[in-house]
Amino acid sequence: MKLFEYRGKELFEKHDISVPKGKLVKNEKDFSGLNFPFILKAQVPIGGRGKAGGIKSVENLKDAKEKFSQIMGMNIRGCTVRKVLAEEKIDIEKELYLSITLDRSKRMPLIMISGEGGMDIESVPDEKIFKEWVNPLIGIQPFNIRSVVSKLKLEKEEEKGVAKVISKIYKLFREYDCELVEINPLIISKDGEVMALDSKVNINDDALYRHPDIEPELVELTPLEKDAKNKGIAFIQLDGNIGVIANGAGLTMATLDALTHFKGDGGVFLDLGGTDDPEKVKQAFELMKKAKPKVIFLNLFGGITKCDTVAKGVKAVITKEGIDCPVITRIKGCNEDIAKDILKDAGLITAATLQDAAQKSCELARGA
């Protein structure tokens, strides 16, 4: 789960990492207590808000009111701004980049730090980004920190300040089961303080149960996706018009790939996973219907999820509510014969192979 910048900064403050003085502003009255000049920052769960005009500096109350009304409610790459953070301006001496994330390949947390923080960090060459891996069996050690900090060529006192922040950030990363903690820029102010001017904190969804203090925030999801998430169904809405239901992420992805091969476009990605509960299949199929795809493609390889279980769930929905789009089915594996028998009068189109089914789905979606 991605936290909004201001919530990430709340965690930073809890871990004694300095951030600029600031507050969430919902309306113009909330400006009181802040010294000018300050910055208004759109709170959205995606990057690139600066370039989109979601960050503005304000000099006085009039200016603030005007810019606040510009930012609040603006649309940044599909996200409506509903929260704005106001933060006092800091005099910056140096801008650094700092992150801790997961290196899947080494199976370890990876600390990355650079003396060239800021907007263009992704174009900073690798040799200017210093990396250090932390073995999870021993956790962060003084040498890890020394190693990266010494390469930044900072003043002694600055080194100490940055070292402390790394240590605290690692603690936060571990304690809150983070996938990512990123600070860009991490700055050293004119008066020598090390401060986080931004925050990106992603918490591992699987570990949220350990963090009851972190309120869930489903801002990135469409209403149907939220509904699916609450029902425990893997459901992602895409731009196309073919709804894909399959079991297992790999098979679902392979199905979308096959559609692309035949020049069709997936509109929903619905992974039944391993289930043996027809009721859950029913809920999934209902969700799919609500997404109103032009064609539904049901691609099953029965194993743990038996074909007849899925067939029962699908049949129940069609019997009860009918279906107003073509459904192509390709059913294989455990109990495929029973499944085919269950569905034989449901008016579905059957195909023998993935290729056939994909091709038919694409043709139907194109209105052929």
């Binding site: 990057g47 390949s105 199976r107 370890m108 990876l110 990512l180 390889f301």
Partner: protein, 288 residues
């Protein structure tokens, strides 16, 4: 021979008395797996399909000489279960449990290395060596004994591919489900290394997907270390990009991780790639 599990494999099932545990103990026994013990704290003395249940793994190992564990416990108890198995001397750990916090997985993956143990998973469907042993929840009916090694990051997709191999009469030495989580114990490289050494394996099939750089690393490893023919399918060529991990994700990946990058890397390593999952069988038949 075979890799990771074979006829010397003696399995203890952790989480044996739950719904899944009971069902899959039966399935594994049907497959011919030597399931020698189950573990559920507080249920020592019970039996599941005739398999004795113990309070802890140490007791189970002492009594039955189990050398492999199948972990089916709920996600929040998984780390403890894996640690327990490793401390009890288990040398092959198969973790089926999904939704394990990855910080937990990191810890037990490294603790397995400390113990010189093979750990497959988490979120793995298991391992099957047809005719010898199956440790996991893979559907038993699709397998055929033979000489193709399969290692896969996907579940169902693997079943589909194995099924099409079997239908064409090309059996498998071992099929390893590596697990779909960001952190897994054994990667393609671990499986490739084992298949290379296994004299029953003549060809290797890898089933990959987008995300991470395991395929790119496998490709490099194949170039340097693998003499046997390798075939691959990559799922997700047109899938929506996964969650973007800040700038950090981009800095680590530097363009890797996409299906295109993986396909390119495999092609460079001389790996034959299938367009559709079921094409793999044709490729193996032709070039294997």
């Amino acid at each position: 021979m075979a890799i990771f599990v074979d006829d010397k494999t003696k399995v203890v099932v952790q989480g044996a008395t739950g719904h899944q545990g009971m069902f899959h103990i039966g399935e594994m026994l049907d497959f011919g797996t030597k399931v020698v013990a189950g573990v559920t704290p507080g249920k020592a003395g019970q039996e599941v399909h005739g398999v004795p249940i113990f309070n802890d793994v140490k007791d189970a190992v002492d009594e039955t000489s189990a050398n492999t564990t199948l972990v089916l416990v709920p996600a929040r108890f998984a780390k403890d279960a894996v640690f327990e198995a490793l401390d009890a001397g288990i040398k092959t750990v198969v973790v089926i449990t999904e939704n394990i916090p990855f910080h937990d997985a990191m810890e037990f993956v490294h603790y397995a290395k400390y113990n010189d143990a093979v750990l497959v998973g988490p979120n793995s469907p298991g391992i099957a060596s047809p005719g010898k042993s199956k440790v996991g929840i893979l559907p038993g009916g699709i397998f055929l004994k033979g000489n193709v090694g399969v290692a896969s990051r996907s579940g169902t997709l693997t079943y589909e591919i194995v099924n099409s191999l079997s239908e064409k009469g090309m059996g498998q030495s071992t099929c390893v489900g590596l697990g779909g989580d960001p952190i897994t114990g054994t990667s393609f490289i671990g499986a490739l290394d084992a298949f290379e050494k296994d004299k029953d394996t003549k060809a290797v099939v890898l089933v990959g997907e987008i995300g991470g750089t395991a395929e790119e690393e496998a490709a490099e490893y194949i170039t340097k270390n693998i003499s046997k023919p390798v075939f691959a399918f990559i799922a997700g060529r047109t899938a929506p990009p996964g969650k973007r991990m800040g700038h950090a994700g981009a800095i680590i990946a530097r363009g890797k991780g996409t299906a295109a990058s993986k396909i390119k890397a495999f092609e460079k390593a001389g790996v034959k790639l299938a367009k559709f999952p079921t094409d793999i069988a044709d490729l193996v038949e032709k070039y294997g």
